[in-house]
């Protein structure tokens, strides 16, 4: 019995860690590499969750002919259908995952359009405002994902095993595989010519302009990729929690991810992972429910302390260790090597 | 009065001027010439504290000022006329001058204004006009007169005659002479190299972030400048 409790705790910790890793990598791409702190990160995570919910619920309910998709009965019937039809469950999951990243990616590109003309801080504030707007809309507009009460019965693809602990273990492992894939993808992008372009936009917008680079477009492209990654994370999270609640998608999540990226070290994918790890440990173990397990209680809402620590971390890291735990490395591209070699030669010739 | 020893400075982490050794005596007028991009403006900004200094020391009037903020250097008597953006375009001529003499009391300001307008009578009729609507020449006059509001002892001017018609260029150099006459130490960066040489005691030639030649203006005026600029590069 205790063993099972520990397993659940471990699974949940690992899963949150993986989601944070994915989100932190995408934030690093946008903020660390391109200089756009996407304070609307949660919006794209949310859009992924919504897309997956809409696809899953609609597919199952059209097969089942459900009248009232929001009811508990409908949720149970969806779960039963997924459990008895593994192919369908896997198919719906894959379709949802892919669509979620695409929809979030396109929205990242589109939603940022009005704000692309704005510089760093203005752009990120606008994205934050849009994120809150989306949440307010979704929690009000019932037909989408059931309004403020959300919707459940979004089974993970392993429900057919009819062994929840095993199914969840497999699902967490699958998420791990996707996190690793994301890491490799982002790492590859960082070291590509596009990675250099992103840094050029970040370091000197005007110079990038004068070199004929379309700065808003580069930003749009980066927001597409970053948002697609966040969308996939949103999809994974929905199938994990098997439900969606609009009020889970508040800006605090964005700020948590931002803190991870800053703590780990900007423009550095290993840093993003390390930051996610440190804060996942902190975030998961500073929940009232976790503390209660260890018999600790405090005289106030513990989440306040969590947020305060995030804020203090951001300010202290920026003041005393702006490069983060793991500093940025130079980009590895052929072009960089050529330029670096030429630089060395000319400085030798000059002296 | 001003001494730079082995100064390496630039923007961000990028050095632009490398190993500058310059010494300027009180009351002297020194012209700085050189091709575009040779670091003349960067040198001027380094003296007023608008660049990052990586190596070396700057000493002014016995004070080491290498890492002092610009406001302190102004208080010590350094005035600087930037190459671009040298007036506040949305403010009137009078307001521009007021800003130049920010630390003065109301009465001191009045006296100083009188004094400066005597030297630049062409501004007297335009005190209520926005600086942005002045002609190029008038704008430079305003910028130069603003310099005097802080009662400086060292004046650094970065291309005060750039982009002006020949007649206006002469007017500017007349003002330069007037400044020399009142005993100011002048550092004059110029594209009009010949003019600058003939209105100074000493000339520095900068190429590629270094001072490649420093000699009396009489001797430099005998040289073929094109050769100096490009052979030493």
């Amino acid at each position: 019995m205790i063993g099972e409790g520990a397993l659940v705790l471990f699974q949940s910790f690992t899963f949150y860690l993986l989601i944070y890793v994915i989100l932190s990598l995408s934030m690093n791409l946008e903020y660390g590499l391109t200089g756009v702190p996407n304070l609307g990160k949660v919006l794209f995570f949310f859009v992924g969750a919504i897309t997956s919910t809409v696809i899953t619920v609609n597919v199952y309910d059209s097969i089942l002919g459900t009248e009232d998709p929001l009811s508990a009965l409908a949720a149970a019937r969806r779960t039963e259908l997924a459990a008895s039809n593994p192919l369908l469950a896997v198919g719906v999951f894959v379709l949802s995952l892919i669509s979620s990243s695409l929809v979030a990616g396109v929205l990242g590109f589109v939603a940022s359009y009005p704000a692309l003309a704005l510089k760093g801080s203005m752009l990120s504030i606008t994205l934050l405002i849009f994120g809150e707007a989306a949440r307010v809309f979704v929690r009000t507009y019932q037909p989408l994902v059931g309004g403020v009460f959300g919707i459940s019965g979004i089974s993970n693809p392993f429900v057919f095993l009819r062994n929840p602990p095993l199914g969840m273990t497999l699902y967490v492992a699958l998420t791990g595989a996707i996190a690793i894939f994301t890491y490799l993808l982002v790492e590859r992008l960082t070291n590509s010519p596009f990675g250099r372009l992103m840094k050029a936009v970040r370091d000197d917008e005007l110079a990038a302009y004068s070199l004929g680079k379309d700065v808003p477009r580069v930003r749009g492209q980066v927001l597409f990729i970053g948002s697609a990654i966040a969308g996939a994370a949103g999809s994974l999270y929905t199938f994990y929690s098997q439900s969606i609640f609009p009020d889970d998608y508040v800006p605090a999540l964005t700020f948590l991810v931002l803190t991870m990226t800053i703590l780990g070290g900007l423009a550095n994918n290993v840093g993003a992972v390390v930051g996610a790890l440190v804060l996942a440990v902190f975030e998961r173990f500073s929940q009232a429910s976790t503390l209660a397990v260890f018999g600790i209680t405090v005289g106030f809402d513990i989440s306040y302390l969590r947020y305060a620590v995030m804020g203090i971390l951001i300010v202290t890291v920026l003041l005393y260790r702006p490069q983060g735990l793991i500093p940025e490395k130079p980009v590895k591209t052929e072009l960089y090597d050529v330029v670096a070699a030429r630089g060395r030669r000319s400085s030798r010739a000059g002296s | 009065m001003l001494e730079l020893r082995g100064v390496v400075a630039g923007y961000g982490r990028l050095p632009i001027i490398t190993g500058i050794d310059v010494s300027i005596r009180r009351g002297e007028t020194v012209a700085i010439i050189g091709p575009n991009g040779s670091g003349k403006s960067t040198l001027a900004k380094t003296v007023v504290g608008l660049t990052n200094v990586f190596e070396g020391t700057i000493i002014y009037d016995g004070h080491e000022i290498t890492h002092r903020p610009p406001s302190e250097r102004v208080r010590l008597g350094i005035a600087y006329l930037p190459q671009t953006g040298n007036v506040f375009p949305d403010m009137t001529v009078l307001e521009n001058l007021e800003m130049g003499g920010y630390s003065l009391s109301r009465d001191e300001l009045k006296v100083k204004l009188q004094e400066v307008l005597e030297m630049f009578p062409e501004l007297s009729g335009r005190l209520k006009q926005k600086a942005g609507t002045l002609s190029g020449g008038e704008r430079q006059m305003l910028a130069m007169s603003r310099l005097l509001m802080t009662s400086p002892s060292l004046v650094i001017m970065d291309e005060p005659s750039a982009g002006l018609a020949p007649k206006m260029v002469h007017r500017i150099f007349e003002k330069v002479d007037a400044l020399r006459k009142v005993g100011l130490t002048l550092l004059l960066i110029e594209q009009h190299a010949r003019m600058a040489i003939s209105h100074s005691e000493r000339t520095l030639v900068m190429v590629g972030g270094k001072v490649v030649l420093s000699d009396s203006s009489d001797r430099v005026s005998g040289l073929d400048l094109a050769t100096v600029f490009f052979q030493r590069a």
Binding site: P37, T140, F255, D301, A308, G311, P322 | M91
Partner: protein, 299 residues
Amino acid sequence: MIEEALGQLPTSLLASALYAMAAVGLTMNYSVTRLADFAIGEYITFGCYVAALLTLSQLDPVTSMVLAGATGALIALSVDELAYKRLERRGATLLQVFIASVGASFTIRYLFSIYADIEDLLFLTSGFSSQPVVFLGTRPLTNLHVLALITLTVTVVGLTYLILRTKVGKAMRAIASNRDLAMVSGIPVWRIRSITRLLTGFLAGVSGALWAYYTSINPESGWRMLLWVFSSAIIGNFTSFPLTLLGGFVIGSAENLGMWALNRAFGLETAYKPLIPYIAIAAVLLYRNRYRFTRLVEL
């Protein structure tokens, strides 16, 4: 019909005045420091609490409001001294300072939340009692509306005088227009910055006080207002005072007058009320984006 529209007016005006006042402070701060200070929400929150607690202990609303402003000013200045200035002196980029302001905002808000939770102040209603002065249609125009409008008028007149006529105001304009030139002209840039911070914090605190007189407050009140304040400032491009004032009125009216109009015209459910200002800001940004290239270089 007209009466109904008039009935929307008092609340719209009140909200507009609050947003406009804080947004003008934010714009002023941005002009001088190039920082869109995220922690302004916290100066508002402190304004809310100080005003609420003082009126509860029987102090008159106007004095309480001024003290709320003073508290906001003090906090705005301290945050600058403890964090932003230090960062800038260490060579941090503007974006880093902005992110630091996000961190500062969280730090203040949630340390205060902990305190409020322990002291049982998480929800608080001020001691201000609202009394109708005249009736516009069915809704009353109360002494609160009058107070807000007078405060806004005083603010606008005072700031206009400050910026156009006084030496400090001129120095602010000079710094906003060319910081390097201001520095080499001998303008004490850091001192002017501190004065600006005090003013920004004061305006935020005062607008928080008015908010506390209007409705019940909690440690997140300022954060809730922050989005609207930023929206107003974005409409003003973070540079123009008249446009920022207009921005405050657009955002403030959108929620009430705008909702009422949309409800009338298209039968839009009032549940969507919180969404209206977002639509307003999106529309403004989309419109502005037609100038994307010039703007990008300017801002």
